[in-house]
């Protein structure tokens, strides 16, 4: 079991387990996961559908509570925090990118990106959001609504939103799965460019080997256990 965590390892998990009680007995989704992710590192977690990848991502991000074991985010054990405490820990320091983009349909691209900046009390959220969107190649699309954007453009807005507050850790759940290969490639390019530029930890869940190869490390989730690349 991993015993230590430090500022060099913003995300660590030790003995992490997740199970649910069903009428047919206990269903173990994750079994004794140990993980240590270094600053600036990009880690891919691969696995078949239903292997528990998204569950692990949720636990690492503090969106869900583990049945056993511990997650430390920025050296803070999540088990000691309630839901609001975990939210406060994430604010401005953790970003998310989702398979289904999760853009708010009633907001323009600019407004979507401004949202996390406003939550963290940024001085000029509109300016910062516009700059990040420009970096994502969407300077001409600031005032478009999600429904007026292509899938690739929507995911680039989602990336801009995730990176705008300058997060230390970014959790990405199948960020290119809803995109065609060409668009997916362009989005992946942007994701890693921004990640390296900001020195952000990237924990990427995917079943796309090509995408995973861009990461510093690849881990496989099989039958609830996390295995390093053979």
């Amino acid at each position: 079991m991993l015993q230590t965590s430090s500022n060099q390892h913003p995300v660590t998990a030790s003995g992490l387990m997740k199970f649910v009680e069903t009428s047919e007995g206990r269903l173990e989704i994750l079994q004794r996961i140990d993980l240590q992710v270094a600053s600036g590192e990009a880690v891919a977690i691969l696995g078949a559908s239903g292997s528990g990848k998204s569950t692990l991502l949720g636990l690492l991000a503090g969106l869900d509570e583990a049945s056993k074991g511990e997650v430390r985010l920025f050296d803070t054990p999540l088990s000691g925090l309630d839901e609001d405490g975990r939210a406060a820990l994430r604010a401005g320091k953790v970003g998310f990118v989702f398979q289904s983009f999760q853009l708010l349909s009633g907001m323009t691209a600019l407004e979507n990106v401004m949202l996390p900046l406003e939550l963290t009390g940024h001085d000029s959220p509109d300016q910062a959001a516009a700059e990040t969107l420009s970096q994502a190649g969407l300077a001409q699309r600031l005032h478009h609504y999600p429904s007026q954007l292509s899938g690739g453009e929507q995911q680039r807005v989602a990336l801009a939103r995730a990176f705008a507050p300058g997060p230390k850790v970014l959790f990405a759940d199948e960020p290119t799965a809803n995109l065609d290969p060409h668009t997916g490639e362009r989005v992946a390019e942007l994701l890693f460019r921004l990640q390296r530029h900001n020195g952000t930890v990237l924990i990427l869940v995917t079943h796309d080997e090509m995408l995973a190869r861009r990461c510093d490390r690849r881990l496989y989730l099989r039958e609830g256990r996390l295995e390093a690349e053979a």
Partner: protein, 829 residues
């Protein structure tokens, strides 16, 4: 983070995205209905009240047997009240050797302050309103005086030492109806001509009146002031002490209006509750995302609370302005029905609109919206994790408190408010239970059907909770609309039927016992039907349970007056058809000899007479006493002869009595009345046609006002319908896309949606018909005290109207989905 600015930005963005339109529209209509009804009823009630003040020809009347003291007049002048003075005294008029007791009324230039006199220039002429008064040297007379003294228009009569020319016939004087049963016919002259008649001396039986009118605040100020003054011998009367026929007509009109306003509130809260539910469902993603991005549940709660309150204030303001505009149109439509200008709107309904909007939101939206702060952030990965359902008890508690407060405030009648809330709760419970049961019964049918029927039935049973909520929403909407329709059609027509066209318009009083047979025969010869004559005994109540009563025992002017004046008693063997026993029982033939009284309920309440108590009356120097055997309600607005107190024959048969009767005299038979008066000069004939017209006018205006208010309730009903349809919209979007992807034709899709909503509407309509019948029965019998009968047509309208209305509206509201490419939907998901 500044939650307020973020909340405002989100609100603005949500509005642009259409997220809040349904909730805001429901709220705007709620507030617009309430404020338009509020503005409108406020103005109409004030106008109706002003019109009713005609009964006193003033807002307030001071009466004394001494000249009104200067201090009372000065206080009125200081408050800038308008005033008029009148005098009334009996006198004897002579003509060609015949004499007749008359009641002279002398009026100042400003008389009347409220209402207008109606006069005829000749016996056969049409009566018309007039602003003028008798000119110097002129007298105006009541028509019945002409045959008694063989007088004609243009003749000169002498009052004391002064001659007066008969210029006009008085057919209506506003304040005459407050003292209808005055025996002597009226002669009206100018106040400044009284002295020269020389009729008034120190011992004259003169009544002095000071009439006052002004704005409500001015009047209230004067009323408060006069309450603190010592005023021996001065009686203060306002509209509440006026004739019971008019008071009841006004009160009923007010109740109808307030009921209409309350139904609009009920419908709107249903719409707000339904649209809040949808809003919460659609905002779950935003909440999860905000929490994912680091907002605490408190932040999220504050953001949604501020959004809700901002929306409440904005929508309430918009609703209030819409209400203001709408009532202006209404007032424009019916303004000409009123004899005087409708008063300007006050600010009160605007404030009440704002408060209504906020109360509705807090009661029906806040508990669900605050649950948004509890959305698990994991929803970003797991779509099935939604907003935790609001605690049933919490929702019910806030909803009941806010609705209770709203209704009691708006209706101002606790009993009616509780009935409505009880009805709503019972209705909701019944609708929820029955709809659940129906969904359960319909579920197996889907396996026995095919095609569109199967999809339609499957849609109903796929989510029993949503279906039950939808059916409850539709059901409540239809129920309220049905109740209102019945109120409008049935209760209003019953109300008007309480005063049928051939209601008695003539009273004959002071018929001596020896004249009863002759009067009856004369009327029968003329083809006039009459229920009487009834014996009338003048008596004064002197004690209740051996406790002597005096004016000082009571605070209300009416009670004080009743405690000091004679009033009319009668005796009867049978109860009159327009009377109803409310407590105790009527006497049987074997009990006629018992010393018992039957007392009108209102009188018993005013004077504090308990059932079973011993009453003593002084009748012509004789003391009689008996037990109160029952309380009766009396339909005063029927214009039949009625009495506050009736005794058994054994108790009252030997007392000196005159007789009274009432009957309907068609205009073409007026000559019969002249013959009757000439044959029986001591009999007094009273023509109440003008008073009845006044009552009818109040009823007509009340009816029209309720019908106008009904339009707002219909609008509120439509928004409930729309909110109900939208309740299943999210599910339908997804399912429609999947079904179309799987190859279901557009036509079959349309038919299945049509079937789904038609079934929903039809079933909701059926339950609503049963509920509406029960509610209208309760309202008719216990609130409006009117007869009620079951209406089979209403059941048909509810069933087919519900099915067709909801079916068509639901299908049309879903039309856009039928034309949306499935890919667009599936890509979004």
């Amino acid at each position: 983070m500044n939650p307020f600015s973020l909340a405002l930005r989100l609100l603005r963005r949500d509005w642009r995205a259409g997220e809040l339109r349904l909730l805001a529209t429901a709220l705007v209509i709620a507030v617009a209905s309430v404020t338009s009804v509020g503005f409108f009823t406020d103005r109409v009630e004030r106008a109706m009240e002003r019109q009713a003040t005609e009964v006193l020809a003033a807002d307030l009347r001071l009466e004394s047997n001494q000249p009104i003291t200067e201090s009372l007049i000065e206080a009125a002048d200081q408050r800038l009240l308008r005033r008029a003075q009148t005098l009334s005294f009996p006198s004897v008029m002579l003509n060609n050797g015949a004499t007749q007791l008359v009641q002279v009324k002398a009026v100042s230039d400003t008389y009347p302050l409220r209402g207008r006199m109606r006069v005829r220039d000749s016996v056969s002429g049409e009566d018309h309103a007039t602003e003028s008064l008798p000119q110097p040297g002129e007298a105006w007379l009541e028509e019945r005086l002409l045959p008694l003294l063989d007088l004609h228009i243009g003749d000169t009569i002498k009052l004391g030492q002064s001659p007066f020319r008969i210029a006009r016939i008085i057919s209506y004087e506003p304040d005459r109806s407050a003292n209808l049963f005055q025996l002597a016919p009226r002669v009206m002259i100018r106040l400044d001509e009284v002295d020269k008649t020389g009729l008034l001396g120190p011992a004259s039986r003169v009544r002095h009146y000071l009439l006052l009118a002004g704005s409500p605040s001015q009047m209230s100020d004067y009323r408060q002031w006069i309450e603190t003054q010592s005023r021996p011998g001065i009686q203060v009367e306002d509209i509440r002490a006026a004739r019971p026929e008019l008071r009841i007509a006004l009160e009923r009109g007010g109740r109808f209006l307030r009921l209409a306003a309350s139904t609009a509130i009920l419908l709107c809260v249903v719409a707000v509750a339904l649209s809040s539910r949808r809003f919460v469902e659609r905002q779950s993603d935003t909440s999860a995302l905000l929490r994912c991005l680091g907002a605490s549940s408190r932040d999220v709660g504050r953001i949604f609370l501020l959004r809700l309150l901002s929306l409440g204030v904005i929508a309430s303001l918009a609703g209030s302005l819409l209400g203001l505009a709408a009532q202006a149109v209404l007032v424009e439509l019916i303004g000409h029905w009123f004899t005087s200008r409708i008063p300007a709107p006050s600010a009160w309904p605007l404030l009440s609109g704002l408060a209504t909007g906020i109360l509705v939101l807090i009661g029906f939206s806040l508990p669900s919206v605050l649950r948004l702060s509890e959305v698990p952030p994991l929803r970003v990965f797991r779509r099935h994790l939604g907003t935790p359902p609001v605690s049933y008890r919490l929702f019910l508690a806030t909803a009941l408190i806010s609705l209770g407060a709203l209704l009691m405030w708006q209706i101002g009648d606790d009993r009616l408010a509780f009935q409505l809330i009880g009805g709503l709760l019972a209705g909701m419970a019944i609708l929820l239970l029955v709809s659940r049961l129906l969904v359960h019964l319909l579920t197996p049918l889907r396996n026995r059907t095919a095609g569109s029927w199967r999809y339609g039935l499957a849609s109903l049973s796929r989510n029993p909770t949503t279906t039950s909520i939808q059916m409850t929403g539709f059901g409540l909407g239809i129920t309220v609309l049905l109740v209102l329709a019945m109120v409008r059609v049935d209760l209003l027509s019953n109300w008007r039927n309480a005063l049928p066209k051939e209601s008695p318009n003539q009273f004959l009083i002071n018929i001596q016992p020896g004249e009863v047979e002759s009067v009856r025969n004369l009327l029968a010869e003329g083809g006039i039907e009459t229920g009487g004559p009834y014996p009338m005994i003048r008596g004064r109540l002197i004690s209740i349970d051996d406790r002597r009563i005096s004016e000082n025992d009571y605070r209300s002017p009416r009670a004080q007056r009743l405690a000091t004046r004679d009033f009319n008693l009668s005796l009867a063997t049978e109860i009159q058809s327009d009377n109803k026993i409310l407590a105790g029982r009527w006497w049987s033939e074997s009990e006629w000899h018992e010393p018992w009284f039957s007392v009108e309920q209102g009188l018993a309440e005013t004077l504090g007479i308990p059932l079973g108590s011993q009453l003593a009356f002084e009748v012509a120097g004789q003391r009689i006493s008996g037990r109160v055997e029952n309380f009766r309600s009396v339909q005063w607005d029927s214009f039949n002869v009625n009495f506050f107190v009736i005794g058994t024959p054994g108790l009252m048969a030997d007392l000196p009595a005159t007789y009274i009767t009432s009957f309907y005299l068609p205009p073409e038979k007026r000559e019969l009345l002249h013959r009757l008066i000439q044959a029986h000069p001591s009999v007094t004939a009273l023509d109440v046609t003008a008073l009845m017209q006044q009552v009818r006018a109040i009823m007509d205006r009340g009816t029209l006002a309720v019908e106008s208010v009904f339009l707002f309730t219909v609008a509120a009903g439509l928004i409930v319908l729309y909110a109900g349809i939208q309740a299943s919209h999210e599910l339908r979007v997804q399912e429609t896309a999947i079904l179309r992807t799987l190859g279901l034709s557009r036509r079959r899709l349309v038919v299945s949606v049509l079937l789904e909503f038609t079934l929903l509407g039809g079933l909701a309509g059926l339950i609503s018909a049963a509920l509406a019948s029960a509610i209208s029965y309760s309202l008719a019998t216990s609130v409006f005290e009117l007869p009620w009968s079951i209406d089979p047509a209403m059941w048909g309208i509810a069933l087919f109207g519900g099915a067709a209305g909801v079916g068509l509206a639901g299908t049309l509201a879903s039309w856009r989905l039928f034309n949306t490419p499935p890919m667009t939907v599936l890509k979004k998901a």
